[in-house]
Symmetry: C2
Subunit: 230 residues, 2 copies
């Protein structure tokens, strides 16, 4: 029983890392579809989301099975619950990639070429925070996770800046409203991916803090989630 | 041990029902702050969100404790995992209530009075789906849960309609862009609350389907989550 549990826990870790890599790949394609105005890439993103939803369900099932298999010890239990939450966050990042790809399709089909404003900078930052959030989980590295929280603040500022700039453009020429709405939509979806990457990084900080406490102090926290920020 | 588990499971159910009622109340206030242009109500919503975040953490801790206490049987395990997910959905509905209240503050402070377009109808529908989603969970009523899914489609259509109408207004008078953006923001947040209510309703449908299967068939599903729609 013990060994079967260890084996299934390892398999769960492998699955969530794979999920992260599939989502990262689809998100990256969504960004490129906007930045390079590439309609076939946009289509690939939309087509690829089904696989992400399947992976999410597989991991959700594996979590339930692991919890039912035996009563995991505190550290394993926290890890399993973290995997469940990160799995859900990743699935939602997949949905945002689809939204971005849809806007890329709209912009690509439009005869007016919209200025992308802060989108290229936001895309680069968001790609970085997602990568670092996933790496911080794989390495259980709270310092790397911390950098995600800081960069996410920059993404939030750039999102506000984008909305301001689009409103300025619309005021000077109201014909830019349709394209401007798509730019705002992309910006807002990038901002949400930043938030979800922050969720993942916070899970890692919480997991590793609990671990540090466990290693350095005799007292075990009864409520490990209490220190988690919201 | 058995009795302690039963007692804590009952207490968890009570807590999630309370969480639902606090979130519903704050969301309802957020709607009224928009519809009645009531700034003090908007402030109350923003101030009330801290309590919701506290409740979310308490329930999250209770879930971890219950899972650690003993290996729950399949039905209990599914219920506990459903509570955890619904808890997260409710906390996010709380965040959307805050966003709506912030837009109410913006609109209230503006000298131009924006037309609310489809917002009153969306508000009514969203209030209904949230109520029915929560009731369907309390009563474990899959038919009531099903009505949530149908009404959510109407909310999505009204959201698209609102965006179209705002774009039309901006095209005819670009000075309406600032207020129009707030109307779109409210509409989008209502649409998200509809989606989150749908998540809750889907959990209920999944929970009760699993129960029906268990009662009517000898075979127990190995992967109860497989039938869940995404």
């Amino acid at each position: 029983m013990e060994r079967r549990f260890e084996r299934e826990l390892e398999s769960l870790k492998t699955s969530i890392i794979k999920m992260g890599s599939v989502v990262e790949d689809n998100f990256s394609k969504a960004l490129e579809s906007v930045l390079r105005d590439d309609l076939s890439l946009a289509k690939a993103v939309i087509d690829g989301d089904g696989r992400i939803n399947e992976l999410e369900m597989e991991i959700d099932n594996a979590v339930i099975d692991l919890l039912a298999l035996q009563q995991p010890v505190a550290t394993d239990l926290r890890l399993i619950i973290a995997v469940q939450k990160i799995n859900n966050d990743l699935e939602r990042i997949g949905d945002h990639a689809v939204n971005i790809a849809e806007s890329a399709e709209w912009l690509g089909a439009s005869k007016d070429k919209e200025p992308l404003l802060q989108i290229p900078r936001m895309a680069e930052l968001t790609r970085t925070v997602l990568r670092h959030a996933l790496d911080s989980f794989i390495l259980l590295d709270p310092k790397l996770a911390q950098t995600v929280l800081e960069r996410d603040d920059q993404i939030d500022l750039l999102n506000k800046e984008t909305v301001r700039e689009v409103i300025g453009l619309i005021k000077s020429d109201s014909r830019t409203v349709d394209g401007g709405m798509q730019i705002i939509r992309i910006s807002r979806n990038l901002e949400r991916v930043g938030d979800l990457s922050t969720n993942i990084a916070e899970e890692v900080i919480f997991l590793t803090q609990a671990r540090v406490v466990k290693h350095h102090a005799a007292e075990v926290h009864h409520h490990p989630m209490q220190s988690k920020k919201h």
